[in-house]
């Protein structure tokens, strides 16, 4: 099953931690957002494989935007 990973906040993509094709565990950091001097990680909701990353470092994203898609195993 594919799961969309949504951003819970508005801000800039500071750092992308994993790459497309990487295996991730539940609660592993996928990327780190920055807004208002704070850094908030976006975590993987499940164990799985990152099949797409929809954002690049420096992108401005809004709350609810899909930042990545995980294929659950």
């Amino acid at each position: 099953m594919q799961i969309e990973v949504k951003s819970q906040m508005t801000g800039n993509v500071w750092k992308i931690v994993v790459g497309e094709g990487n295996e991730v565990e539940e609660d592993q950091e996928i990327l780190i957002l920055e807004s208002m001097k704070m850094e908030i990680p976006v975590l993987s909701p499940e164990d799985g494989k990152v099949i797409s990353l929809n954002v690049s470092e420096g992108d401005f994203i809004s709350e609810g935007d899909v930042v990545a898609v995980i294929e659950e195993e």
């Binding site: 508005t10 801000g11 800039n12 208002m36 908030i40």
Partner: protein, 456 residues
């Protein structure tokens, strides 16, 4: 005194400083970034200058752009507010070179206190209690572990040139140490351009007790009592008050006198704040000294009746403390401040947006400090704090009631704020009984979330 002062800041604190400068008949110069061009503090100032750009780096942290405006506007002093360049040694040195007064301490004290390890050592020499700490860590993992065991777990991994809680990670055993140090280094490099890290003894559930210091340029120092700032999320304060609940006056007086002496020993020369942690057993440990006006200065203003911005300007202008302060410094009643942040009240995630409704009812007994008005946009470029609300009553109980009652009347739409969380906290048994510590805000947020789940 000064004839014209540039305020090197934005929003609420710029407005606050301009208000006092006007009262003192000093002309004011404001600066602003592109996203801030509609903010009300610009209308308060006699002159205002644009810093082209949006991010803090391009604007309020850009020393060259600000120095150009300082020259162009012909000011004789600069007030930095808090944050941005308030504790930047090189900026202050540049002002000293061109004979423009920095309304704050001399650059050497900023430099002295900016290195947390040096500051701890210095305060230790002056007989302030300092919890055990390590040297700056090397990359050698075995040595790192030795240092941690020397300090004794749990330890707090901490950037030695940091602030604001950024890059601070508690560690409970050897196994998790290397990764935590690595993470802290990355953060420290990014935020402070200095990746040096050290370890400190970690107090679990401590209270944050700080002392307001005022000093002149002649070696005189006084303290203006304590503030309890234990309510924090991500090491950023949410609620501040004075007096600190449930701590004996003797304990406060004794510690205050010690701190006053330590600051006198180093020759400090403007206002500042000494932050201490207090363990649940009543032990204190020096945390750091902030060499600037604090966000929560209004709490001290309320209990002492002083205007700390005026005090700061007078001290920087060469007045002696005995001519600035009343003969007898007394405190009256209890003051409480809450910070309104543009953020989700449960998970504390930032929530930038447009203030489509922004109403703080006017009341004589409630002080509001905000840099925004209805229709303004809170951008993601800067700090999430949008307002501070301060009350002053005879007792702590009355302060809490007044604040709670007032918060219910504030109307903000267009973005999320932490007001529901502030009300929840003020109503909690822990806060009301003064059973506060630096992890309480997180515990209450968790409980609030669970209750919302149950009720929905």
């Amino acid at each position: 005194m000064f004839s014209k002062v540039l305020v090197a800041n934005r929003g609420a604190i710029a407005a606050r400083i301009i208000r006092t400068l006007k009262k003192m008949d000093i002309a004011t110069v404001a600066i602003y970034s592109e996203p801030d061009s509609e903010l009300p503090y610009l209308k308060d100032a006699d002159e205002s200058y644009l810093l082209d750009g949006k991010t803090a780096i391009e604007t309020y942290l850009n020393q060259q752009k600000i120095l150009n405006i300082i020259q162009q506007s012909g000011v004789d002093a600069v007030h930095p507010g808090y944050g941005f360049l308030a504790e930047n040694t090189s900026f202050v040195q540049k002002l000293e070179e061109i004979n423009v007064t920095f309304i704050g301490p001399s650059s050497r004290y900023i430099s002295l206190m900016s290195d947390k390890c040096d500051a701890r050592e210095l305060m230790n020499k002056s007989s302030l209690p300092v919890g055990k700490g390590s040297n700056v860590l090397t990359t050698d993992i075995e040595e790192m572990k030795r240092e941690a065991n020397e300090v004794g777990y749990p330890v707090l991994v901490k950037p030695s040139n940091g602030g604001g809680g950024i890059g601070m990670i508690p560690v409970y055993d050897d196994k998790h140490l290397p990764k935590a140090v690595e993470q802290a280094k990355t953060m420290a490099e990014k935020f402070f351009s200095d990746s040096s890290i050290y370890l400190e003894k970690y107090f679990e559930k401590p209270r944050h007790i700080e002392f307001q210091i005022v000093a002149d340029t002649y070696g005189n120092v006084e303290h203006l009592f304590e503030r309890d700032c234990s309510l924090q999320r991500r090491h950023q304060k949410i609620i501040e008050e004075s007096p600190a609940p449930g701590i004996d006056v003797e304990e406060i007086n004794e510690l205050g006198a010690k701190i006053q002496q330590a600051i006198k020993d180093i020759g400090y020369d403007n206002i500042g704040t000494v932050e201490m942690l207090r363990s649940n057993k009543g032990e204190y440990s020096f945390l750091e000294m902030n060499t600037r006006l604090q966000v929560e200065h209004a709490v001290t203003e309320k209990i002492t009746g002083l205007d700390l911005v005026e005090t700061q300007v007078q001290s920087a202008g060469g007045m002696k403390l005995k001519d600035i302060l009343p003969n007898l410094i007394e405190r009256h009643g209890h003051s409480l401040e809450v910070r309104v942040y543009a953020e989700d009240p449960i998970n504390f995630f930032p929530s930038p947006g447009n203030l489509s409704v922004y109403k703080f009812p006017d009341r004589d007994d409630v002080r509001i400090e905000t840099g925004f008005k209805e229709g303004n946009t809170i951008s993601s470029y800067y700090d999430p704090m949008i307002a501070k609300i301060i009350v002053h009553e005879e007792t702590r109980k009355k302060s809490i009631e007044k604040m709670q009652e007032y918060l219910e009347t504030v109307k903000i739409e267009g973005l999320k704020t932490n007001i529901p969380f502030l009300i929840y906290t003020l109503k909690s048994k822990e806060f009301q009984t003064g059973n506060v510590h630096t992890k309480l805000a997180e515990e209450l947020a968790y409980r609030m979330k669970e209750e919302i789940k149950t009720n929905s």
